[in-house]
């Protein structure tokens, strides 16, 4: 892209305006992020001076912009960092995180270095090549978008990560520690009973059994779903029969039926058939909710496969079933993996039916087990420990097989 060119003096549509925006906003946001992170990691009662940080960011940004573009170098960036440091120290009266320097000095220094480093770098990336004066509208918008994107990355990352961080860290704390300082998520590695809540979950609350139950239910659901959905999807994709199009369209309708509407009649009938408080009951209900999605996803994939190979197989004397097993399925392994993972995720995470159906702790699935920890008599860290145990396996599978998982999600993402 062509270099940014100055077209006039200073004005609203100038590099200076964008620099001010970038300096103020990055200073403010990074101070909150770094300050809170410092408080969370070390347990220090940090009070981030957001005003001083915004001013420091502004000063650094203005310094960069007022340096002529052709004279800017890495040294400019270093000067900007020094200016930012000085302004921050002066305006926060020496307490850069609202703490006396004697408290956790090393942590404060690291925090300060990180803050100055990321803030200056962000400002540099946004306005490092921007002239101070008025620029073309195109360039101005480009600069503004850089700032907005930067803020967007910070916002989304914090928004997504914070709850998970709290989940994991709470499980290592004790109720008393949490009430004393809700911000202190520092981990004392020397603590003897760091894993106390996990040990209790696995010994007193049978979470080992719940994991096995969840795994069994999820794997069986995947197998049953594929066993039933594959032939159905093949029929819809390849065979001609009256009502095929109407059928293909009405599959979508089925997964718009809410679970809460189905759960009462199933609860009533399963109670009378004595299927309610059983794993078998879940294994009847779960595939019924996943088969339509799986069928819809698979038929879309089967349609995309070349029909010529199947026809060749038929010519060579294979039956339809033979064609499916020997030709279609080997070609659709990626699709089967995606659908299988998606179904596994639905079954693993399913809450409503497990909650309504299961009373006997011996056959609890993980979500049902975590629900049983929600009691005012049990401490929070047990509940969070249970949440971590329920989350880690599905996350591990997700990270391991992300490619298939993402395909499955995008294909079935209308549901959920």
């Amino acid at each position: 892209m062509a270099a940014l060119t100055q077209t006039g003096g200073y004005g609203l549509r100038s590099g200076l305006a964008v620099a001010a925006l970038a300096g103020l906003s990055f200073g403010l946001v990074f101070m909150i992020v770094v300050g809170v992170t410092l408080a969370l990691v070390t347990g220090l009662p940090a009070r981030p001076p957001v005003g001083a940080a915004a001013l420091a960011g502004l000063a650094a940004a203005l310094f960069i912009t007022f340096t002529p573009v052709e004279r800017r170098s890495n040294r400019t960036r270093s000067y900007a960092a020094s200016i930012m440091f000085l302004v921050l120290v002066i305006f926060s009266l020496g307490q850069v995180f609202g703490l006396p320097l004697s408290e956790g000095s090393i942590w404060q220094l690291i925090g300060l270095a990180v803050f100055v480093g990321v803030t200056v770098q962000s400002i540099w990336l946004c306005v490092g090549d921007a002239p101070a004066g008025t620029v073309r509208r195109y360039d101005f918008e480009k600069l503004v978008i850089r700032v907005l994107k930067g803020q967007g990355y910070i916002f989304f990352t914090v928004f997504v990560v914070l709850p998970f961080y709290v989940m994991v860290m709470t499980s290592f704390k004790s109720q008393a520690e949490l009430l004393a300082n809700p911000l202190d998520f520092s981990i004392d590695l020397g603590k003897a009973n760091l894993f106390a809540s996990y040990i209790e979950l696995f010994t007193r609350f049978n979470f080992g059994t719940y994991i096995l139950n969840s795994a069994f239910v999820s794997v069986c659901t995947v197998l049953v779903t594929l066993l039933i959905a594959v032939p159905g999807a093949y029929a819809v994709a390849r065979l001609r029969f009256r009502g095929r199009d109407a059928f293909a369209r009405s599959i979508l309708l089925i997964y718009m039926v809410p679970a809460i509407v189905l759960v009462l009649p199933l609860y009533a009938v399963f109670s009378q058939l004595e299927l309610r408080n059983t794993i078998l009951g879940l294994l009847i209900v779960y595939p019924a909710t996943t088969i339509p999605v799986a069928l819809y996803m698979l038929q879309g994939y089967f349609r995309g496969l070349p029909a010529e190979m199947e026809e060749a197989g038929l010519m060579d004397g294979l039956t339809r079933i033979g064609v499916i097993i020997k030709i279609t399925l080997p070609l659709s392994l990626p699709a089967l993996a995606s659908v299988g993972l998606y179904v596994f995720m639905i079954a693993w995470n399913e809450f409503l039916f497990a909650f309504m159906f299961l009373d006997d702790p011996a056959i609890f699935t993980l979500p049902r087990g975590v629900a049983s920890l929600n009691s005012s008599e049990l401490p929070r860290e047990l509940m969070m420990g249970g949440a971590v145990i329920a989350t880690v396996p599905i996350m591990a599978i997700f990270l391991w097989l992300e490619r298939f998982m993402v395909q499955g999600l995008s294909a079935g993402a209308v549901k959920g």
Partner: protein, 439 residues
């Protein structure tokens, strides 16, 4: 084929109905194979989805409580006073026959018992007959929660060391069942009357609509922004894409409870953070406070629904990954030539987004909105786990649970579920009316 050949009229009719290639034996076989392959799907969907949908209507018109799910039965209890009894002494035997059901009568209630040797029973009740050693008592109908107590005087013929063990050694057997509340033919309009007359019903419906509209919109807008952030390739993009999917992949119960912990007014981290940076004075009960502050708009004063807003933010947080994936996939498939042409013509980035990207994304955004709208309306788990429907967050789906399980009135719960179904049907009709025809 044969009947088609029989008359010209039939042939013309067949041609009008059947596809152009006609229905040959091969096609017939193909169709039969297709239906065979689809049969398991049909069966399970019919049993677990279609049947319950119909059953819901049936239950909603019945006076049925949670406790009625177990068919009423008569139960018998036999008690003996005294322990060691000498020959010739008397003691008391008490039989209690009861109907445990709170609502339904038991018909043909009766019990039988066998008297052990060495005991004589003075039967002085006309409902009971002692023939040989067999005691039979018949009562006919037993009212809901009703009980019949019979006390007989028994005489020991020999010394008995433990009468209790002796008499209870032969267990009394109760007879009589009530009708199954699910299959009985008694109907009532009471459930619907109750649902619609409750003052909260319109509040619940309104909450549902607010939750659905803003939850769907929030997830869609967040998804759009996230997709814009990750549209261009850069280092760490794959990592961020995986990260952004976390909220959806984690079990709902885990993330919902985490938010409850995070937002707790006493020990929650978010309140602590807000107080630390001086954003609020005291802790805010995000999930437990119905209203916070007032908004004045055109002279109308509306209270800001705090708990509902929190729940909506959770919904947007949890489901933005789905819209993000879809929108990102669509963005990546947009032809880049168009943007190059726009660049040459001097279109600015915002102009490119507004005039090129958005029109290209309009279809996917509309489809996502309609589908997510229906799915958000259906959501139960999220709100139930976050607030349990308290503090002005009770939607229709949570109300189903509230009526059926918390208030133990399955009939009323099913009535709410029927309302949910009809609202959904309306949405679905709109959806199919406006959905694009292509696959």
């Amino acid at each position: 084929m044969t009947e088609v050949a029989q008359s010209g009229v039939a042939r013309r009719e067949a041609e009008a109905v059947a596809p152009p290639q006609g229905v040959g034996p091969l096609q017939k076989r193909e169709a039969r194979l297709a239906w065979t392959m689809l049969a398991p799907t049909f069966l399970i969907v019919a049993l677990i989805v279609a049947l319950p949908l119909v059953a819901n209507f049936w239950i909603s018109a019945k006076p049925i409580q949670l406790a009625d799910l177990r068919a009423p039965e008569a139960t018998i209890n036999e008690r003996v006073s005294g322990e060691a009894v000498a020959a010739g002494e008397t003691f008391r035997v008490t039989y209690t026959l009861r109907n445990s059901s709170p609502n339904l009568p038991v018909r043909g209630a009766a019990f039988t018992d066998t008297l052990p040797e060495g005991v004589d029973l003075a039967v002085d009740d006309e409902r009971c007959v002692l023939s040989g050693r067999n005691l039979t008592c018949t009562f006919g109908n037993l009212d809901p929660r009703g009980r019949e107590r019979l006390r007989f005087e028994a005489t020991a013929l020999t010394d008995i060391s433990n009468v209790e063990a002796l008499l209870e050694g032969t267990a009394a057997v109760a007879q009589g069942r009530g009708e199954n509340a699910l299959t009985s033919l008694s109907f009532t309009g009471e459930n619907f009357r109750k649902v619609f007359n409750a003052t909260e019903f319109w509040d619940v419906l309104w909450t549902s609509i607010l939750y659905t509209v803003f939850g769907t919109g929030g997830a869609l807008i967040l998804g759009l922004f996230a997709a814009l952030l990750l549209d261009q390739a850069f280092r760490g993009r794959a990592f961020l894409r995986g990260l952004f999917l976390f909220p959806y992949v984690a079990p709902v119960i885990a993330v919902a409870y985490t938010w409850v912990t995070l937002l707790d007014p006493n020990s929650g981290a978010l309140n602590a953070i807000l107080m630390q940076i001086g954003a609020t004075e005291g802790p805010i009960n995000f999930l437990g406070q119905r209203a916070a502050g007032e908004i004045s708009l055109f002279g109308l004063t509306v209270e800001f629904p705090l708990a509902l807003t929190t729940v909506i933010i959770f919904e947007a947080w949890r489901y933005f990954p789905l819209s993000f994936l879809f929108i990102l996939a669509r963005m990546q498939s947009i032809n880049t030539d168009m943007y190059e042409a726009a660049e040459i013509d001097g279109a600015t980035p915002f102009q490119q987004f507004w005039h090129l990207s958005l029109p290209q994304l309009a279809t996917i955004l509309a489809i996502l909105f309609l589908l997510r709208f229906i799915w958000t309306f259906n959501k139960f788990d999220d709100i139930f786990l976050l607030t349990g429907g308290a503090a002005g967050t009770r939607t229709l789906t949570v109300n189903v649970y509230e009526q059926a399980i918390a208030l133990s009135n399955i009939g009323a719960g099913a009535a709410v579920a029927v309302v949910v179904f009809f609202v959904l049907l309306a949405f679905a009709l709109v959806f199919f009316r406006f959905s694009p025809k292509e696959d």
